[in-house]
């Protein structure tokens, strides 16, 4: 492996969900709820879930006939009903593909909750791109919206 490149990227995803802040917050802070929209349907809960500053979250998933991804989080700041900051690493088949910092902010909005997700990422050695990560994150936020609607 000779390519040790680092590509820096950032993106923002904003959503307004027609649900109260408490309900949106619970979808992030309760592992049973989170596992129903964050990369699964509750069938692959995280192996570690410590929702507190300094706490970890760890999960793994394999795409059928594809690679295994590992997602490892350290929570760095949590203000209930207001914000979550965490850094995370992604590995693909054991190789580190990215290191990112995510900030999720929540505000009460007319008829629901405004949520803003800001990510800074380092995409390592040409194994991933910010465009793919943004696309994947938009997919997750859509899954969160659908999950909240059917709850």
């Amino acid at each position: 492996m000779s390519d040790h490149s680092v590509a820096h990227g950032t993106f923002v995803v904003e959503r307004t969900y027609p649900h109260p802040v408490e309900k949106v917050w619970a979808a992030w802070s309760d592992p049973k709820l989170k596992s129903q929209w964050f990369g699964g349907n509750g069938d692959n809960p995280p192996k570690v879930f410590e929702f507190k500053p300094g706490g970890r979250e760890s999960s793994a998933g394999t795409i059928p006939d594809g690679p295994t991804y590992n997602f490892d989080v350290t929570y760095q700041d949590i203000v209930p009903l207001s914000r979550i900051l965490y850094s995370y690493d992604m590995h693909m088949d054991g190789r580190k593909i990215s290191v990112s910092l995510a900030a999720i902010e929540f505000w009460p909005a007319t008829g629901g909750t405004k949520m803003k997700l800001t990510e800074y990422g380092l995409f390592l050695d040409g194994l991933d791109t910010v465009a793919q990560r943004q696309e994947g994150t938009i997919g997750l936020m859509n899954q969160l919206g659908a999950f909240l609607d059917r709850q």
Binding site: H4, V6, H8, T10, P53, T74, Q76, D77, V79, S82, R83, L85, S87, D89, K96, V99, S100, L101, A103, E105, T118, Y120, L122, L124
Partner: protein, 152 residues
């Protein structure tokens, strides 16, 4: 209580050092070497500093001016490629209030007989305690201290 705010910002600093990448990287990787330049202003009490330089390892530092607030730095190394790059995320606290969460990338590139260092920091500055311009200024000061250390 202060209103809850998050200010996102990034900065990049580039420096040329006369020393080769292995030497410059060593100033980050070796604990006594790092302690020689990675510290607050001279009028601060000597920092309390710990460091475990490996992926997943932690580095902590705290200090402050006599009678002033105590700044605490707590980093976790997230990626290390010897002589090439270091990635860590870190929190800063001021008297126990979290003032920022940042992701730092340091790249070491051969540049003639020396090294081009690219220091990129992506930060979330919390609740109005701190701002990106101050952090950039503080980081530039640290890199000046690194240059002095390498030249001695």
């Amino acid at each position: 209580m202060k209103p809850r705010t998050v200010t996102h910002a990034s900065f990049t600093l580039e420096r040329h050092f006369r020393q080769p990448p292995s030497r410059v990287f060593g100033a980050f990787a070796d604990t006594p070497a790092k302690q020689a330049w990675f510290h607050g202003p001279d009028d601060w009490a000597r920092d309390v500093h710990t460091m475990d330089f490996r992926v997943g390892g932690m580095e902590t530092s705290s200090g402050g001016s006599p009678g002033g607030p105590v700044s605490s730095f707590r980093a976790r190394y997230q990626d290390i490629v010897p002589d090439q790059r270091i990635v860590y995320s870190y929190d800063m606290d001021l008297n126990g209030d979290r003032i920022s969460v940042s992701l730092t990338t340091i790249e070491f590139k051969p540049d003639g007989a020396g090294t081009r260092l690219v220091f990129t920091e992506q930060g979330a500055y919390l609740d109005g305690w701190d701002n990106p311009a101050l952090r950039e200024e503080g980081t530039a000061q640290l890199l000046d201290q690194l240059a002095s250390f390498l030249d001695t």
